[in-house]
């Protein structure tokens, strides 16, 4: 009996059990303190759909053997440029959203390819190099935002300043178009089929990708590069495909994130974008070597629900905003756990 219990615990994983336990306590507290549980769930689901694709972007790099993609800001910046072009042209609604994605993808492909070339020459240190390449690109792009030739008065400082504004309102363009598409209620919980459906669609696409010849080649290259070579697979290009795919997903992910948030955040905002995504997929049970779609979905659900509910619920019990502190401790604790777990991995 105890053995079976232990096996169940091992299968689910201790971190997930702890966080699920936390969530349970939070929801019980919410119920006792007369908070609206459906409202909490509505908010959580929105956050899941908002962040999901960014978390999904971690899967290709992990499975092709590059590891966690700390260079996520590169894709995010590509997405921001795409969104800006769409806004500059004053495209509205769904056409604005899809135009943003359409402009962003080619940029992300080029950026991802260059990034893959760089990572190829720093094998073994991809995570650290990725982090700082991401950081420095964010800084370079800050200069770009200041000097970029955008003319639309909605985008640039009205008077006095030079360059793009810090935060752009998406309301007139494609703000919340997905969030407000096909919304229905279930037990008092508002569910946006548009937003969640879009996320799940991408999960499904990636799932099928790993059933194709290319996807399987990438998995083999990540699982055992020497095996892959002996099977005639070009390991380097598989890694490049993984990095490009991840960058493209990050670009799409930030556009979905922004439309859901209602604002496009420029300058230093993308700096730490990689860390919540990394934490989420690790919470979902991924390791530095292996990640699946279910890791993405479980991880995003647990992590985002926790972040969304922690603030309103705990503020009833504790004074001050503990959610930011909890985010720091949980996400970085999770990353530390993954980094120190399998020393024999490489």
């Amino acid at each position: 009996m105890t053995l079976r219990l232990r096996r169940i615990v091992e299968n689910i994983g201790i971190p997930r059990l702890i966080i699920a336990g936390f969530l349970l306590i939070i929801f019980i507290t919410a119920y006792i303190t007369d908070m609206s549980v459906p409202q909490l769930m509505t908010d959580s689901l929105v956050r899941v759909g908002m962040n999901g694709i960014l978390v999904l972007a971690m899967v290709p790099t992990i499975s092709c053997g590059v590891g966690l993609n700390f260079g996520l800001p590169l894709g995010v910046l590509s997405g921001l440029v795409g969104a800006l072009i769409s806004m500059e042209r004053n495209l509205k609604g769904f056409s604005g959203l899809f135009a943003a994605i359409g402009f962003a993808i080619p940029i992300a492909v080029v950026v991802g390819y260059l990034y893959a070339k760089l990572l190829e020459s720093v094998k073994g240190q991809e995570m650290m190099v990725g982090t700082y390449v991401g950081f420095s690109t964010v800084a370079v792009m800050c200069v770009f935002w200041l000097l970029a030739p955008f003319k639309n008065p909605e985008l640039i400082w009205a008077i006095g300043g030079k360059g793009l504004r810090f935060t752009l309102t998406l309301g007139n363009h494609f703000g919340k178009v997905l969030n407000e598409f096909a919304v229905f209620q279930l037990f008092g919980v508002k569910i946006s089929a548009g937003l969640l459906g879009f996320f799940l669609l991408f999960c499904l696409l990636i799932y099928f990708f790993y059933k194709t010849k290319l996807g399987i080649a990438m998995l083999a290259a990540g699982a055992n590069p020497v095996f892959a070579r002996s099977a005639g697979i070009d390991v380097r290009s598989m890694k490049a495909v993984g990095v490009v795919l991840s960058t493209v997903l990050a670009a799409i992910g930030i556009i979905i994130y922004a439309q859901s948030y209602g604002f496009l955040q420029l300058y230093m905002a993308p700096l730490m974008m990689a860390f919540p995504a990394v934490a989420a997929i690790l919470i979902g049970g991924a390791s530095l070597q292996k990640a699946t779609i279910s890791n993405v979905i479980i991880g995003t659900l647990l992590f985002q629900t926790l972040l969304t509910t922690a603030l309103p619920v705990t503020s009833r019990v504790i004074q001050g905003d503990i959610s930011e502190v909890a985010r720091l401790i949980i996400s970085n604790g999770m990353i530390l756990y993954a980094l120190t777990r399998s020393t024999g991995g490489k």
Binding site: I216, N224, V226, F227, A231, G232, I233
Partner: protein
């Protein structure tokens, strides 16, 4: 040499690993000033014996050993490398334990630095705060280098020195240890050029003349004949001979090293025996850059339908041949099949030409350990030959998804045919036994429908029963499906059991090809480089 006194005696050493006896009642004795050669094939038990002598943890974590070790006539307990060092045993490692950024002096004195106290170290009673006494360290290093007749400056950094020097610095480090009475050299000439090797042998003699007993492990018989006072031959964990040098001749040593009864099994007959007129593969001046297993210009021909064995001692390049041809290590030369050149350095092209490979590194190269059996069997054929795929959805013709049904059916068939013991096609291969993993590797190669199959070390690390099954399987493939098989193995016995011809590789070149029923002495000599035939 004082024949009367024994500085080291190992008596009745027996060691088992997981029920396998790897050393059986081995005894060896050294006098001061003696050079004692320990020769034997790979796997004869030399390294286990040295691990015991050096108190390596691997011995004690696997249940220890029986027998006793005496130093200067007193029984000692060598339970750790530190204890062995204390007892006066020095070891020159095969891999260099040198820090490239340190000077020669710093390397010789590594973790044995002479130190001087200072105010702070006295205050904290901490030796680790003592100053390094660099002048004394240099003097000691100089003395050790002089004993080896090495004029190199002791303050030079090791980085950038020729490899030959590094070996001598390793030796100087052991020589510098005041307490060293016994020095063990584990194949020290393996990485040296011939002149460097000669010089090393000279140093051995000089050290022996100083009264140090030397245990010299090697399989280069010419070196044994050149320096050894006495020789012990190990085979399959047993002492097969103890000889004085004047009693030994190279031929006899070679025979003792490899000699072993070959159990003859009756191989199924063929309709037509493979002959020189119908060639499957021609290898011309093949050079393979595989670290530790370099091939340096090997030429030979492989007959259609035969099982060719490739043997040779470790490090002489027998493993490099298949790895090079299959494109896993960079190679040059010319390999042609049916008069058609096979592009080198391109695994993809080679697989398309109908060649397949079962690697010697089953877990490292052969398998995706955490993936299911079915994926392991099918992924190579899928990637290289577009098998097991289907177009779906039909309006996207470029998109090809894996064909689950076909994969499942083929894997089931292979599991049945090769008798792979498992829970089903989706079991991860990591949880299979070695023998069954090897069968998955063979199934993977068969999925490619090969005309020519390279198999390296097919029985390494699997139990006796499974060994037989794997060899039988290879014979069946050869006879029933007419697959030409090139089997590389360290176990001469199994090569002689199932092969039509056995090629022996020496120093990266073909030493010769022997029929499987050639005598032990012939095989032994050829493997030890005793005779050098031009490549056939």
């Amino acid at each position: 040499m004082e024949r009367s006194r024994r500085v080291l005696e190992m008596k009745g050493i027996t060691k088992q690993y997981f029920g396998n006896t790897v050393l059986n009642d081995v005894s060896i004795a050294l006098c001061p000033g003696e050079i004692h050669a320990l020769v034997g094939e790979n796997g004869a038990g030399k390294s286990t014996l040295m691990n015991i002598l050096f108190g390596m943890p691997v011995i004690h974590t696997t249940g220890g050993f029986s027998g006793e070790i005496l130093i200067d006539g007193e029984k000692v307990d060598l339970s750790s490398p530190a204890a062995a060092m204390q007892a006066g045993i020095g070891m020159v490692h095969q891999e260099f334990m040198l820090l490239p950024g340190f000077t020669i002096t710093e390397n010789i004195k590594l973790n044995r630095e002479t130190t001087r106290q200072n105010a702070l170290s006295r205050l904290f009673h901490s030796q680790s705060l003592d100053y390094l006494d660099v002048p004394t360290m240099r003097k000691d290093a100089r003395r050790a280098l002089d004993r080896l007749d090495l004029s190199i400056d002791e303050w030079l950094p090791v980085a950038g020195l020729p490899v030959g020097y590094m070996q001598f610095i390793e030796i100087a480090r052991e020589v510098d240890k005041k307490e060293v009475k016994i020095l063990v050299f584990d194949e020290p000439t393996a990485v040296l050029t011939e002149t460097e090797a000669d010089r090393l042998l000279g140093s051995l003699r000089r050290l022996a003349a100083d009264g140090i007993a030397i245990l010299f492990i090697t399989h280069r018989l010419d070196e044994v004949m050149a320096v050894a006072d006495r020789i012990t031959v190990l085979r399959d964990g047993e002492t097969v001979a103890r000889l004085n040098r004047d009693e030994a001749v190279v031929e006899r040593l070679a025979e003792l090293m490899v000699g072993r009864k070959v159990e003859k099994i009756d191989l199924p007959p063929r309709h037509k025996d493979p002959g020189e007129e119908d060639l499957a593969l021609t290898i011309d001046n093949l050079v393979v850059n595989m670290p530790g297993e370099m091939v340096r210009g090997l030429s030979m021909t492989i007959r259609r339908g035969e099982i060719l064995g490739i043997g040779g001692l470790a490090g002489h390049g027998k493993l490099g041949i298949a790895n090079g041809i299959m494109g896993l290590y960079s190679s040059s030369g010319r390999v042609s099949k049916n008069g058609d050149d096979i592009p080198l350095n391109s695994p993809e092209q080679v697989l398309l030409k109908g060649l397949a490979f079962v690697s010697e590194d089953r877990r490292g190269v052969g398998l995706l350990l955490d993936e299911p059996i079915e994926r392991n069997i099918c992924v190579t054929a899928m990637q290289a030959q577009n098998k097991f795929l289907r177009s779906w959805p039909h309006f996207l013709p470029g998109l090809r998804l894996e064909n689950r049904g076909e994969i499942r059916a083929y894997s089931d068939e292979m599991i049945r045919k090769l008798d792979i013991r498992c829970l089903g096609t989706t079991q991860p291969v990591r949880s299979l036994s070695g023998g069954n993993q090897q069968k998955v590797c063979v199934a993977k190669a068969l999925a490619l429908d090969p005309e020519i199959l390279f198999v390296s070390e097919p029985t390494r690390g699997i139990d006796v029963g499974a060994k037989r099954l794997v060899l039988d399987l290879l014979v069946r493939l050869n006879r029933e499906h007419n697959v030409t098989i090139i089997m590389t193995s360290s176990e001469l016995g199994e090569l002689r059991k199932i092969c039509d011809r056995v090629a022996i590789v020496y120093r990266g070149r073909l030493a010769g090809i022997l029929p499987p029923d050639a005598s032990d002495a012939e095989f032994g000599l050829m493997m030890a480089g005793g005779v050098r035939k031009e490549a056939v």
